[in-house]
Subunit: 339 residues, 2 copies
Amino acid sequence: MRNKPLSVTIKDVAQLAGVSSATVSRVLAHQPHVTEKVRQHVLNAVNELHYQPNRVARSLRLQRANILGLVVADVQNPFFLAIVRAVEDIAIAHGYAVFLCNADEQVEKAKMYIDLMLAENVAGVIIAPSRAENDPCLACIEAGIPVVLIDRTLEDAQTDTVIVDNCQSAFRLVSHLIDDGYTRIGAIFGDLQVSTNRERRTGYEQALLTHNLPCAAELVRQGKPIQEVGYQLTCELLGLPEPPQALFCGNNLLTKGALQALHDRHLRIPDDIAVGAFDESDWTSLMQPALTVIAQPAYEIGTTATEFLLQRIRGDERPPREVVLNTAFHIRGSCAHHR
Amino acid sequence: MRNKPLSVTIKDVAQLAGVSSATVSRVLAHQPHVTEKVRQHVLNAVNELHYQPNRVARSLRLQRANILGLVVADVQNPFFLAIVRAVEDIAIAHGYAVFLCNADEQVEKAKMYIDLMLAENVAGVIIAPSRAENDPCLACIEAGIPVVLIDRTLEDAQTDTVIVDNCQSAFRLVSHLIDDGYTRIGAIFGDLQVSTNRERRTGYEQALLTHNLPCAAELVRQGKPIQEVGYQLTCELLGLPEPPQALFCGNNLLTKGALQALHDRHLRIPDDIAVGAFDESDWTSLMQPALTVIAQPAYEIGTTATEFLLQRIRGDERPPREVVLNTAFHIRGSCAHHR
DNA sequence: GTGAAAGCGCTAACAC
DNA sequence: GTGTTAGCGCTTTCAC
């Protein structure tokens, strides 16, 4: 085993400053009742020794680490990645480290990570699950740790939630397609156990109904929100006796699969089939033509959630809040007037 | 403040099993010299109480947490993201959590994170910096913590390194362009302080020299490896009196900027200009035409580095190793026979 | 206003 | 083979 050089402890500082470790602790915690002179001595000693408090010891003593847990369903999804960055930015600014957990669409992995976070005494947790399984998250609430949910709601969890208006956003996009003259609009969604996907489908259906168009069950498909499934579901739609004129993709990974399918069949966008999708990605504007999308305020979701969490950690006992953030609608070349 | 319910400690287990906490510790550490009968009693108690060792207390006691630090230059870069996933997978399998730090191309941020990691007693660190600044990383080595560098080498740091053969890979790609008949090949690279970028440029130059082509200084540009800079550098090349027939992009973010620039000027690939690039991204095969790229074995870099790090943590004192992994060359539609 | 001392949960040296 | 105990570095009563 490598031998780690001993680091400078609070005792070293106390000794150099000629006070007790209790006093050093008080000074660093910005507590009152410390003489200004003593305070200066302590601060000088801290600087001289480059003292950095041992976060582990503090965690053990306080039974709470200055760490925020963050569980996302898939870090490779740019939507979640933007959230990760936001949470990190805010957390760091408040002296918290972030324990990032990539559940990777697996409930067992999420559970394992949450147990790990609890064992690390995290101060609070932000969870952005993609599945309906709620067990892991509830464990945190049971453990008395503040929890903020993002991206989707959870029926059995009464806790702060930050989401977007999925239904309204989907309604807007599909309505736009209808206004462009498309009447036969296919749609692919992620698992319907997830509130997000249910709401997006509802928005899709309501748009059709509002414009007196039929909701053909054959035009709506759902599956695991990954690229391969997007590819397959799109192939199914294209194989229909009467294939759709336009396609609504309910998630950015499904979108990638769908585009791959259209590409492989040499279908031109929007001439052969129009496309509108949920989620902005860095390649959506690079495409030829660029993709019409609903952009979620991912970064803002992250910052809002983190601020809520920090409030709870500080002891805020208000009843749970649900914040609904606005999406942005970017109309680009992937849909145009039909025919 | 919320009051956290008391968690079950090693003492509770000891009491239920009718042994001392030391024995429980021994059983859980898989130490020998424990009667099978006692062992069973302890394990039963552990299961019954759902005991989970407090990782914080263990860290404090051992002066070393079961946490691996991972510092990447930019998590939004798919290359680093793949590494993140790899490190996580291996670490978790060995009972380690991962403390992910996104340096975000900022040395100060990297330094701050590294201080934080040291204060958290991480067992070891994997660093994938994008800048030449080496200070933060050296702090770990000084602190006696095992360090594995990935993606690039660091002259003043004698420590394990996992990289790819950037020079050879660039040589291969540029040679391919030359074989296709392109003689005037522009190139854009990230900062030349970074070994990776220097090597890629060397490969580019050697390919030209080997094929008896001139190395025109005007055709080579470098800057911060971000999309905006890629855009700008490409515009500069296109603005030359005699613009390049082909473009070699030395990094995936530069590539995105370059493609955006070509797109904005309505240049067709490969008819107007051919493109070859470093790094596979999820959109490179989605493009029309798909992009010819050198794919780095990002996941393998991550797994290799993590395995090295775990060996060092276990006390391996071998001299530092440098592993060079192979890249893959995917020839696609973005370059074709010239004229 | 400051110090002494206990103790967070765990491991490892030392008894027996 | 198992128990007793000290102590990791910190915060926080409780004295004075």
